[in-house]
């Protein structure tokens, strides 16, 4: 038990963060101007633009499904999920493929950045004033030099049942 552990949120969902060591690796992605991080070990793939089949009647955040080397991957529009406006430009964007309970999901973001190794010391809990929706999907914040890195909780992001409850 190192000191830095104290910085890790006490609730269980921080499991992916608590890997021991002094730093953690994240695949970073931009949505708009905000930088997001996804724990590197949960990431399967990074994809360029894909042909996506729309799924009628699905929640609006579900962009559709796509074929990744013979597997069907459900594409999630992270923008919509975070309650952001649609993109202004026609840039097709990129996707980060994650595995969740044996199913593959492709998280659609504007752009995928590099893999960052961030010191655990830089971790902060979500500010209490953060938009409740963001607070729901964020595991916490890392203070980087010029930017703030918002860690996405993939499990929560893909748990549509709770958000339906919330909406109701």
């Amino acid at each position: 038990m190192s000191d830095s552990n104290a910085l890790v949120p006490s609730h269980e969902r921080g499991g992916a963060l608590d890997l021991g060591g002094d730093s953690q690796d994240f695949v970073t992605a931009y949505i708009g101007k905000q930088l997001f991080g996804i724990p590197v070990l949960t990431v399967q793939d990074v994809l360029g633009p894909q042909r996506i089949t729309r799924i009628p009647l699905a929640p609006p955040e579900v962009a559709g499904s796509l074929n990744l080397r013979g597997r069907i991957v459900t594409a999630i529009d992270v923008r919509k999920r975070l309650g952001l406006r649609d993109k202004d430009d026609d840039d097709p964007g990129m996707s980060i493929v994650v595995d969740q309970g044996g199913e593959l999901y492709s998280l659609m973001v504007d752009q995928v950045g590099e893999v960052l190794s961030v010191p655990k010391k830089a971790f902060e809990q979500n500010p209490a004033t953060l938009d409740p929706r963001w607070r729901e999907f964020s595991d916490g914040i890392f203070r980087l030099d010029k930017k703030l890195l918002v860690i996405l909780d993939v499990t929560r992001l893909l748990d549509f049942t709770s958000s339906i409850k919330q909406a109701g």
């Binding site: 009628p56 074929n67 069907i72």
Partner: protein, 900 residues
């Protein structure tokens, strides 16, 4: 070879190879109880199975072996090399016997008394008879000639054995060294054993020689075992998945090459394609099992049920060798069992009940499985009481599933569908077997889960049939690819009945009832759903009209409900591998899965069940509504279609519609006269015209409506003023008529109406209308039984005209009275549905009658189905004629009588 036997051989060879290994282990490790009990269990299983299969010789050996092992296990005997050798010897014998069994499908002659004796001896004494037994064999004479020596020789044998035991096994030294007192108890056991071995020895020796050496070596590798191997199911599943992927990839490649005629890939790709198909079939075959496997338990279940419920049940299983995918088989096993149980329990009546219903005491439950176009159809039918509509209705109301008013508007089929609702059981009492209200809904859900459908046909009093249609395999299904709103979707072929192309200028066009699209298809109105709309893809402004100009309609069927799905385009069919959708999409009931098409794109698979549910559950079965309603009515209170018309005067008259061949309008100018009677040229022939009565005046000009009656070559027209209506109503005829041409009057559609006697007018037109072949000679006597006065009055004159002497009675009881009075008839015409004794019971009662037993009985009924015919024949009706089928009745009667 018998399936059971070959399975036994395979299994036993496997057990035996295990046994060899285990026994050797045991020898090295004599005190391991696990190994010991394992060995014991294996031998025990072999013994048990032999007994079951009727293999006494094998069983005896296994039994003796088991005895020894049992003792060892219980600690009464100690494991020694000799003991293991002995057991191994018995196992070799078992192997040899199995080898023989495999070749000849029967046990070889002879027995193994020698071995058994040694085994028993060892079991009893813990000593090995081993080498001693052969030693004892050469001394048969003294044993047989001098009984006194028997004891000695036995003791000698025994001490030999003891010696051997002492030398080899280091058994308790006390036992070996002890003399008289120890031998005493051993002696009584030994003589029978020894004697036995000696008696058999001569007979056995030659047999043993010819069998023992060569075959025993061969028997080690059972060829049955070599032909089949056991493979983990998971491995097969994995193979199947891989093959499925291969098929997809192949399709993808084919798609790429398609359209390029001279591609160098074409030929190798074709080969790849063939091989893939073969491989797919091969792997599929590994998963195929006869459906009989799922039925194996049923005879027992039905038998127990029959005993418990005091019923006689005959379970017929047809097509047990129909093969289907293992996975599907597993999934339908329980539903099938449940349904057979249901049929036997709820469906069939008990013995008194069946007798009362005029059925044979033994009820039949039939299972029938067969292939039909890539699907397996399983029918489960019983000849029991059928579904009780009233009880279903009551239950539906009690459960709040429908109101009385809703039920009123529902067809028979729709009401029957309620049994598929959760918590619906109409069994009056819960029995140990069924009626707990968990049932048909689960059955249906399970079957639908694997892409199957359940249909239900039931006729009250005559039994029910469930028809299950399931795909051969779950892994790959063929699906129709359609496009709607710019997206493509797959519809499983199993639920697609046909495709209709509708456009405004073709024979099929989409019509609207207050914005609800419908399609006329072969005299039925098909409800339509627009795929675009229910999928929410209808983003453009209402462009419905343009859509209607040309659209493709996929006619789908869910259970008994068929409906049309309007799509924009239809592509071809494709083999697809169904993959489940992501968990976050599971609650989209419109999709049953998704798949990857040959071109690599992902496509959603539509679930017709979901669409049907979505478009209004209450409409399930609705397309049967009209038809069903008529049926319900007729079963509740019999209605008759009546043609209501006016002729000569303001009062309305009616005639059963079924008697009228056509309605025509005749131009008065075309009426000619011949021999003072009006005629008209009609369809190349002369048709006489008759009027309602003598005072009838035709119009001077214009057209005159006419009812055309037709019989074989002849037609007759009854001229009327006006055809008012066709009414379905219950006929309650009040008999007034002494008047010629009238049967009586009835209230039809709220008005008093005269019913005309068609027979009278027919006779008017042709005095010999009814072809009186037997003019000369005595008239045949016919007894007519019908509770409806209308029919009695309709048929009596008709039959009289046809040359029969008719006696009409109202009930079967009255008929029985006539019989008891000793009155004779040449033929009996009986209605089926009658108060009191019905037609079936009546016929049955007459079957063995001295007086009337030989009299042909013709059944008369408004219900005419194949089953009716069958049932009628069973109870002794000579023939079956539909009510109103006048022509058939007369000809049947004439024919029947001429046969007598």
């Amino acid at each position: 070879m018998d399936d059971l036997l070959s399975e036994f051989l395979t299994e036993t060879s496997e057990s035996l190879s295990t046994l060899d290994v285990e026994l050797v282990k045991l020898e090295q490790n004599p005190n391991d109880p696990d190994i010991l009990s394992n060995i014991f269990r294996l031998v025990h299983t072999i013994k048990g199975t032999c007994g079951f299969l009727g293999l006494p010789r094998l069983e005896a050996v296994a039994h003796a072996g088991e005895n020894v092992l049992g003792k060892i296990r219980d600690g009464e005997l100690v494991v020694t090399a000799e003991a293991v050798t002995l057991v191994l010897e018995s196992i070799d014998t078992i192997k040899y016997l199995l080898g023989e069994l495999e070749q000849n499908e029967a046990e070889p002659d002879g027995d193994d008394a020698d071995l058994i004796a040694r085994l028993n001896h060892f079991a009893d004494t813990g000593t090995i008879l081993g080498g001693a037994a052969p030693a004892a064999a050469p001394e048969p004479e003294p044993v047989e000639d001098e009984p006194l020596i028997v004891g000695e020789s036995a003791v000698a044998v025994d001490s030999d054995a003891l010696q051997a035991a002492f030398d080899a096994t280091e058994v308790d030294p006390e036992f070996a060294t002890s003399s008289e007192p120890e031998e005493q108890p051993a002696a009584p056991a030994a003589p029978p054993a020894a004697a036995k071995s000696q008696q058999v020895a001569p007979a056995k020796k030659p047999a043993a020689e010819q069998k023992a050496e060569p075959p025993r070596g061969e028997a080690k590798e059972s060829s049955v075992a070599a032909q089949t191997i056991r493979v983990n199911v998971e491995l097969l599943e994995n193979l199947m998945t891989l093959v499925s992927e291969l098929v997809l990839t192949r399709n993808q490649l084919l798609q790429m090459v398609r359209g390029k005629d001279d591609s160098e890939f074409t030929v190798p790709l074709q080969r790849l394609s063939h091989i893939t198909t073969d491989l797919q079939e091969g792997v599929m075959k590994t998963r195929m099992q006869p459906i009989g496997n799922a039925w194996a338990k049923l005879p027992r279940i039905v038998r127990d049920l029959a005993l418990e419920m005091n019923k006689k049940i005959d379970l017929q299983m047809i097509g047990a060798d129909t093969e289907l995918d293992r996975q599907v088989l597993e999934l339908i096993k329980d539903p099938l069992t449940h349904m057979v149980r249901n049929s036997a329990d709820h469906g069939l009546e008990d013995i008194p009940g069946r007798r009362e219903a005029g059925k044979p005491e033994t009820g039949t439950v039939t299972l029938n499985a067969y292939h039909e176009g890539g699907h397996i159809i399983i029918e489960i039918s019983d000849d029991g009481r059928g579904l009780n509509l009233d009880r279903i209705k009551a239950k539906a109301i009690a459960n709040g599933l429908a109101t009385e008013g809703e039920l009123e508007g529902m067809g028979e089929q729709q009401i029957q569908q309620f049994i598929f609702k959760p918590g619906f059981s109409t069994a009056e009492k819960v029995t140990s077997v069924s009626g707990r209200g968990v049932g048909m809904d689960v059955v249906r859900t399970n079957i639908e889960k694997i892409g199957g459908t359940v249909e239900l046909k039931s006729v009250e009093g005559r039994g029910s049939t469930f028809i299950i249609k399931i795909p051969l395999t779950l892994a790959i299904v063929s699906a129709l690819i359609v496009e709607s709103g710019g997206e493509r979707f797959a519809i499983p072929q199993i639920s697609v009945l046909e495709l209709v192309r509708a456009s405004n200028n073709s024979e099929h066009s989409i019509e609207r009832i207050h914005d609800t699209p419908v399609l006329r298809l072969r005299n039925r109105l098909l409800p339509l759903v627009t795929l675009k709309k229910i999928l929410g893809l209808d983003t453009q402004d209402q462009t419905d009209e343009s859509v209607d100009e040309e659209a493709f309609i996929v006619v789908a069927q869910v259970g008994t409900y068929s409906f049309g799905i309007i799509v924009d385009r239809v592509f071809d069919t494709e083999e697809i591998v169904v993959k489940p959708v992501a968990p976050i999409l599971r609650d989209l009931s419109l999709f049953s899965g998704n798949t990857i098409l040959g071109d690599g794109s992902v496509i959603m698979i539509l679930d017709p069940n979901g669409i049907a549910t979505r478009t209004g559950e209450i409409t399930v079965g609705g397309s049967q509504g009209v038809e069903g309603k008529a049926k319900t009515d007729s079963s509740d209170r019999e209605t008759t279609s009546m043609l209501v018309f006016r002729a000569g005067g303001s009062e309305v008259r009616a005639v059963p519609l079924a008697l009228v061949a056509r309605l025509e309008e005749i131009d008065v100018e075309n009426i000619e006269h011949s021999n003072g009677r009006p005629l008209v040229q009609y369809r190349g022939k002369l048709m006489p015209l008759v009027f309602i009565d003598g005072s009838y005046q035709m119009k001077a000009e214009g057209r005159q409506p006419t009812l055309v009656f037709q019989d074989r070559e002849r037609t007759m027209g009854l001229v009327v003023d006006e055809i008012v209506d066709i009414v379905d109503d219950v006929l309650n005829v009040e008999l007034t008529a002494d008047q010629d041409g009238l049967v009586g009057s009835a209230v039809i559609d709220g008005k008093a109406t005269d019913l005309i006697d068609a027979g009278y007018y027919l006779e008017l037109a042709f005095s010999d209308w009814f072809g009186t072949e037997d003019n000369g000679g005595e008239k045949k006597r016919v007894l007519l039984i019908d509770d409806s006065p209308f029919f009695r009055n309709l048929l009596t004159p008709m039959l009289s005209v046809a040359g029969f002497r008719v006696t009409a009675v109202e009930t079967a009881e009255q008929a029985m009275e006539l019989k008891n009075r000793g009155i004779l008839f040449d033929a009996i015409i009986s209605d089926i549905e009658m108060p009191g004794m019905n037609g079936f019971e009546f016929a049955e009662a007459l079957q063995d009658d001295e007086l009337w037993g030989e009299v042909p009985i013709i059944a008369l009924s408004s219900h005419t189905s194949e089953e009716d015919f069958e049932r009628g024949r069973q109870v002794g009706f000579s023939d079956y004629v539909a009510k109103f089928d006048r022509d058939a009745l007369v000809s049947t009667l004439v024919q029947t009588l001429s046969n007598v």
